[in-house]
Symmetry: C2
Subunit: 326 residues, 2 copies
């Protein structure tokens, strides 16, 4: 296939290189590849390309794409909500995400969030800033109940690690199906039943209309008193204002949020100052050192499937924003 790899140099991982490509595809992959960073780079070969790997953040600036031979567009992110509506995608062209590239990094972040909540790190950080030695009882994660909402590549790995640490894990997913790391997996429509039994909640869902405020005030209030929440998916999944209220009154014990309804968070947002709330600036998913290589590996797997006439694992159903063949 004639593939073009279009980088967005401002990405923390830096531009894709031929060395990275060769390390994954080998020298004789049967694919013909070119690399570019500017709009002109793409225009120069647009008429030839059949496959396009493009940095998600740089895609909007390249539209419209006029590539009559194009069959596949692969983007360098797992979430594709920022690319909706998909009217820019020529009819018949397949969209791939890079779900899987984030699972190691993001699952480590989620685990860190859970451990920080069990160990009362928000309180200890506050005490440290005052120079005050204030011991407090801290807990183990082992033997506690975790619910992972969203069992994509990231959520599934969260469940695996948490289970290995001795947590009892329940999964919530849109499609039915058991998971070996989960004691139970329920459909999204049953989430109200599992929330009251969740000491911890990890949210690992894509954005978009179908997940917007899935965790609204009513559902957040179903959690047991003192529960901990980690959100590494999209900020829109959670009613941020309701969460802040519940943290203020101590009904929710703590939260680690890496994603927000409006990013960047404005300086006057109450989120910054809500007690027992840890804020990170949307950094949970990306490990710049390995990101390009992981993204290319996922493209390789999908092109290999395409060549064999098999379903491509990262093909996106643009009506839902989720992978359709997983």
């Amino acid at each position: 296939m004639r593939v073009h790899v279009q980088s967005f140099p401002a990405d923390p991982a830096g531009p894709f290189t031929r060395e990275q490509w060769n390390a994954v595809f080998g020298q004789n992959s049967g694919h013909d590849v070119s690399f570019g960073c500017t709009s002109d780079d793409l225009r120069a070969i647009e008429s030839e390309i059949e496959g396009l790997l493009v940095a998600t953040r740089g895609l909007r600036a390249l539209l419209p794409i006029n590539a009559p031979k194009l069959k596949i567009v692969s983007v360098s992110s797992a979430g594709v909500d920022m690319l909706a509506p998909f009217d820019w995608l020529p009819p018949g062209v397949v969209l791939l995400n890079n779900s899987g590239a984030h699972s190691v990094k993001a699952s480590e972040f989620a685990l860190m969030g859970l451990l920080m909540l069990a160990n009362r790190m928000p309180q200890f950080f506050a005490a440290q800033s005052l120079g005050q030695w204030r011991p407090a009882s801290v807990r183990t994660l082992a033997n506690n109940r975790l619910t992972v909402v969203g069992l994509g590549a990231i959520g599934a790995r969260c469940a695996e690690i948490a289970s290995a640490l001795g947590m009892h894990v329940t999964g919530v997913r849109s499609r039915p199906g058991a998971h070996p790391a989960c004691v139970e997996v329920v459909g999204v429509e049953q989430i109200d039943r599992v929330l009251p039994h969740s000491d911890y909640l990890v949210l690992s869902l894509p954005g978009g209309n179908s997940t917007r405020h899935l965790l609204d005030r009513r559902r957040l209030e179903l959690l047991p008193r003192g529960a901990g929440i980690v959100n590494i998916g999209r900020g829109s999944v959670l009613d941020e204002d309701a969460l802040c209220d519940l943290l203020d009154c101590g009904k929710v014990g703590g939260a680690v949020l890496d994603v927000f309804e409006h990013e960047p968070l404005s300086e006057d947002s109450r989120v910054w100052r809500t007690p027992n709330l840890v804020v990170t600036p949307h950094v949970s998913a990306d490990d710049p050192l390995s990101y390009n290589t992981l993204t290319l590996r996922i493209l390789f797997d999908n092109l290999t499937a395409f060549d064999k006439g098999l379903p491509m694992p990262n093909q996106i159903d643009i009506t839902t924003g989720s992978r359709q063949n997983k």
Copy 2:
């Protein structure tokens, strides 16, 4: 055996109870047990007891112990350095620690520390306190090199979890012997050889003269630039002032310290304010919800070994402060 369990009610785990004892030993263990909290409680049965389980923090106040039938004293901590010198222990009486009771909790804490350093949490906490959105590249632990110094129950479990997350783990221990979670295990005398190849260092050592300032300035300077350090053992193992200097100049990337040379840390200590240094008030090891039960389980295992004439796994060599039969 006639056993007395002496609690120190101010412990976060609360006093030992007969329910906890029965849950571990059963109703018909063959042991005759009594419980007490005050010095008078102990005095009343001192002449009869053969075994004494005593909260480490309360022991000093009970001395001298005048118990002619005493064979075993078991303390409710893994570290026994605060009980040295051991001239209070009657000749021929065996001292047991409760090494193993902390391994789940403390290894979770160590893992949290490593994840917080990989994810630059000290920087993000500083940014949050200013209400500033400052993204920065964060890393995975996977594929990084960890050296665990001290392979007791806690260090060994750290090594296991880190290895499961994809870290390359080297162990440093006083006695030779391989460990399945470690790529390599070296003796303490070889620590200089492994420090330059350690992206992260977990210190899980007992206190006392043999480990004092094992990580001195010269050795801390052997670490690669940007390395991360987690100390969950004893503060005396590390030259705190040297570490602060190396954090100030950025040679060491970050540290999470739960233990200090002088506890509680004084309000004017530079440790509180050193950049990229996270302070917790000696809370890494204890989970109050499970602590008494775990401690009783360890006593049960040791009394069972004693009854069978086998070596007791938690027997302390008072010349070194370490377990002698492990």
